[in-house]
Amino acid sequence: MVDASSAYLAIGLMALVTLGTRIGGAYVMRFVPLSARVERFLEAMSSSVLAAIVVTFVARGSLRELSAVAVAILVMVAIRSPVWAMIAAMAVAGGWSMLAG
């Protein structure tokens, strides 16, 4: 269980960090231009972090989670629609839970 005060502390902290990313890029540009290498770092990092979260989730889960994520990726590759990828994964995972018990 997470108590209310630590929950709001965490939300406030994350809100500040997010706001920092929104204003930080333009702020830094007042003093030094962002180098192309720094931009490549940030760009690669923001896709890497999402991929890392997915593989961690799958590694912690069972075949149910693996199948759902695999289907989401296949749908995305096939029709490039994140909404349908999400719906397909939910259908696989939901169906799996119903059949398994």
């Binding site: 997470v2 108590d3 209310a4 502390l9 965490a10 939300i11 406030g12 994350m14 960090v17 997010t18 706001l19 990313t21 929104r22 204003i23 930080g24 890029g25 333009a26 830094v28 540009m29 007042r30 192309a36 290498r37 720094v38 931009e39 490549r40 770092f41 940030l42 760009e43 690669a44 990092m45 923001s46 896709s47 890497s48 972090v49 999402l50 991929a51 890392a52 979260i53 997915v54 593989v55 961690t56 989730f57 989670e65 994520v69 289907v71 989401a72 990726i73 995305m76 590759v77 490039r80 994140p82 909404v83 990828a85 999400m86 719906i87 994964a89 939910m90 259908a91 939901g94 839970s97």
Partner: protein
């Protein structure tokens, strides 16, 4: 919100140049920005609902789940945060994971800086405080062709914010009513969404290799590091690989659409 329609502009520092007419931020610009994004904002609704339901399942209260959407307004990082939502809350890894997921905002802000940095401090803040992929893509396109009202960014952001919040509220109450969310597959929404976003951001080995390295590092360090830190290690590793890959020779690079 991080929708995969746009990628951040690589090398915006090359494309930044001084602009002639002064940049303003007016009410008309705000209204125009909001109107322009009405069709796009609809696509945020399913994700907002999914986030709301998933947040309740992760153990957030109704107020906390809604507060997170209101104050963060950054879908991918909110999903990432609720994935780490276990008491005692790991503040540092929450902050760092949110920083890594939202790092792309830094690139968007840098790209649009030639325009917004002409504004006085208060308006400068207003123009940037709701910056996201969607309103960036729309405003950047217009401002490059000579439009000078940064209200466009704020207006688009406000519309997306209201939509995101409303969709969250729907999801939160749906989640609070539903009994067994596993039957709906809600627990896989985040992974499916992130998997789709990753696929959308990869085009060729330059973008693919950092992601592969990150996956490897995440798996290898998972048994060694406390919760969330394997993700931070993986994000850093992927970022470093991306930064040091040989650069493709291209001219004036711009934000490109993936899909």
């Amino acid at each position: 919100m991080d929708l995969p329609e746009t990628s951040p502009p690589a090398g915006s520092s090359n494309t930044s140049r001084a602009t002639s007419a002064p940049v303003t931020l007016t009410y008309e610009g705000v209204v125009r920005g909001a109107r322009r994004l009405v069709p796009v904002s609809v696509f945020v609704i399913p994700f907002g609902i999914a986030y709301g339901v998933a947040a309740i399942e992760a153990g957030l209260t109704v107020d906390q789940a809604i507060a997170m959407s209101a104050f963060m307004f950054a879908g991918a990082s909110q999903f990432a945060a609720i994935d780490l939502w276990q008491g005692p809350l790991p503040y540092l890894s929450l902050a760092l994971v949110v920083l890594a997921v939202n790092a792309r905002h830094l690139i968007l802000g840098a790209a649009i800086s030639p325009y917004v940095n002409q504004l006085p401090p208060g308006r400068w803040f207003l123009a940037l405080c709701l910056l996201s992929d969607v309103n960036f893509a729309d405003s950047y396109k217009l401002m490059k062709t000579g439009y000078r009202d940064a209200g466009l960014i704020l207006g688009g952001g406000l519309l997306m914010w209201v939509t995101w919040l409303a969709a969250t509220i729907v999801g939160v109450f749906a989640g609070a009513i539903a009994t067994n969310l596993d039957y709906l597959g809600v627990d896989v929404v985040m992974a499916a969404f992130f998997g789709a976003l990753t696929v959308g951001s990869v085009s060729g080995w330059r973008t693919g290799l950092p992601v592969l390295v990150a996956c490897g590092v995440a798996l290898l360090t998972m048994p060694l590091l406390p919760s969330g830190w394997n993700i931070i290690a993986a994000a850093l590793a992927g970022g470093v690989v991306g930064a040091f890959l040989p650069v493709e020779e291209k001219g004036d690079r711009e934000p490109t659409a993936h899909g």
